[in-house]
Amino acid sequence: MVKLEETHLPGVGVRHDFDGRFGKRVGVITHRDGRREIFVARRDDPDACAQSIVLSDEEAEAVADLLGGSTITRHMNTLTQDIEGLAMDWVPLAAGTPYAGQPLGDTKMRTRTGTSIVAIMRDGQAIAAPGPEFPLKVGDTVVVVGTPGGVVRAARLLGGEG
């Protein structure tokens, strides 16, 4: 999970940044007038910005969308309708999930949402048909199949809002 740091910049706004997995510090400055500035740190000088992009309010929203800011709507749109009335989706387990370290059976997925968990993706490997005792881990991607509505409910459940 990303560790976001919040820093107030007096007279400017607020800065949020984190150390990215690929060795660079990445962050967003929210200016007081609503402009957003995205920056990445330099590799040879992690304290400095190599590049920064200033976005207007609307642009920032668009970029956030592209990056998956509105997961639920995206789920609705990316449901691959292989069979009429049946949807399949890949739900990542983020840090906020209540099921980290719990066996899969604890989600009671089928009873609650009418969807089935058909596989777990972990470290680039697919584990097909995991049993109810299979322990879930943060960072797993859960593959669920069910009705479109059920799939969205499943995503909410695993995200801890269901």
């Binding site: 910049l9 800065r15 304290d47 590049q51």
Partner: protein
């Protein structure tokens, strides 16, 4: 004097400023020192009539008031509180390292004690205007050392808000008892106003927040001048009154006021620098050149150490420490403002401060650019020093 002549002279001065400002933009440096230079040059070349001179004088006073008002507007009361709590050590080090050289230099130059205290203020205050411009222009707002730079600027501005009323009270002079009374009155008035601004600022903000931009501009500008005038009559210093109004305004009204008042501030602040330059006698400059250069070198070093240390505490590497130090070097608008208070005390204070501000305001931003080239050298030196 005819109207035509009056307009001609004022317009000519402003056009000179425009020209200078454009040149500064070309060179990528801050226009403040160039406005000063323009004022000095104008003062040497032309004799302005009485009326344009009067206008420029009044404009300069308004400029000083607006500079402080927009400064107060920049900060929310929460930012002030948080910074006071979190960055005390850097603030104290900054005060010790950068106020002292000016004070000592003033005494060595044979200034009266109060003028030496003013010179201490001149060398103490980094220019938050120049610093934030450098950070913006070089795209360094996201840097790790930036919060430290800004924090130092905030703390200095708070310190100045206390310092100015004290100096203003001392400037009135008189017997020791009278000075004491003035001092207590000034500080009490300031303390009360500061408390009210922090406590009830939101009420004022709500009252002022009218729909029309025009009405808002007029209300804010009028209020700032009224409070500044009242503060001046109470001997607290007009600029501080304006600063407090700025602190008191927060939220939406502050966000709406900022773009409205900025053009006004830019105009009058430029006039303020020119006025200061106009008052300087070119003949006095050679005499202060040596002390100004020495003072600039010494206090550039002390500021550099302040920034370096602050950034090091925040866990920033050498290059960032260097940037923090260099960005804090420039002194600017408020050093000039403080020097302007003491022109009658020590005639050389004005030219000294002007040359000094010029040197630091040009040196700092240039140094700040070369972090990549200079910091590795420093790094090597430090390692050698440690290795003995």
């Amino acid at each position: 004097m005819s109207l035509g002549q009056l307009l001609l002279e004022i317009g000519a001065v402003i056009l000179v400023l425009a020209f200078v400002g454009r040149a500064a933009g070309r060179l990528g440096i801050t226009p403040i020192p160039l406005y000063l230079l323009a004022g000095i040059a104008l003062g040497a070349v032309v004799r302005l009539g009485d009326e344009p001179g009067e206008f420029i004088h009044i404009g300069a006073e308004i400029g000083a008031v607006l500079l402080l008002f927009t400064l107060g507007l920049e900060y929310t009361s929460r930012e002030l509180r948080d910074n006071l709590a979190a960055n005390r050590q850097v603030g104290l080090l900054d005060l010790a390292l950068n106020f002292t050289p000016g004070l000592v230099a003033g005494l060595l130059l044979g200034f009266p004690p109060l003028a030496a205290v003013l010179l201490g203020g001149v060398t103490y205050l980094s220019s938050s205007g120049i610093a934030s411009k450098v950070l913006n222009d070089l795209g360094r707002l996201g840097n790790r050392e930036t919060p430290i730079i800004l924090a130092v600027c905030v703390l200095e501005d708070v310190a100045m808000a206390v310092y100015l009323p004290v100096v203003a009270a001392l400037l009135i002079g008189g017997t020791l008892a009278a000075v004491g009374v003035n001092l207590v009155v000034a500080l009490a008035a300031f303390g009360l106003a500061f408390f009210l601004a922090l406590r009830y600022g939101h009420v004022l903000s709500r009252v002022l927040n009218v729909q029309s931009s025009e009405a808002l501009l007029l209300s804010v500008f009028g209020l700032v001048l009224v409070v500044a005038g009242a503060a001046d009559l109470l001997k607290v210093s007009a600029a501080i009154g304006a600063f407090l109004v700025g602190i008191a305004l927060s939220g939406e009204v502050a966000d709406r006021t900022r773009p409205l008042i900025e053009p006004l501030r830019d105009l009058f602040a430029a006039v303020f620098f020119v006025f200061f330059g106009l008052q300087l006698d070119l003949g006095t400059v050679p005499g202060v050149l040596l002390p100004a250069v020495l003072l600039a070198v010494l206090t550039s070093l002390t500021k550099f150490v302040t920034g370096w240390w602050g950034a090091a505490r925040a866990g920033v590497q050498t290059r960032g420490r260097f940037r923090a130090g260099a960005t804090l070097i420039p002194r600017g608008e408020f050093s000039i403002l403080i020097a302007g208070l003491g022109l009658s005390l020590a005639p050389t204070l004005g030219p000294l401060a002007a040359v000094y501000v010029l040197l630091t305001a040009i040196l700092g931003p240039i140094l700040a650019r070369f972090d990549g080239q200079v910091a590795p050298l420093l790094d090597r030196r430090l390692r050698e020093a440690r290795a003995g």
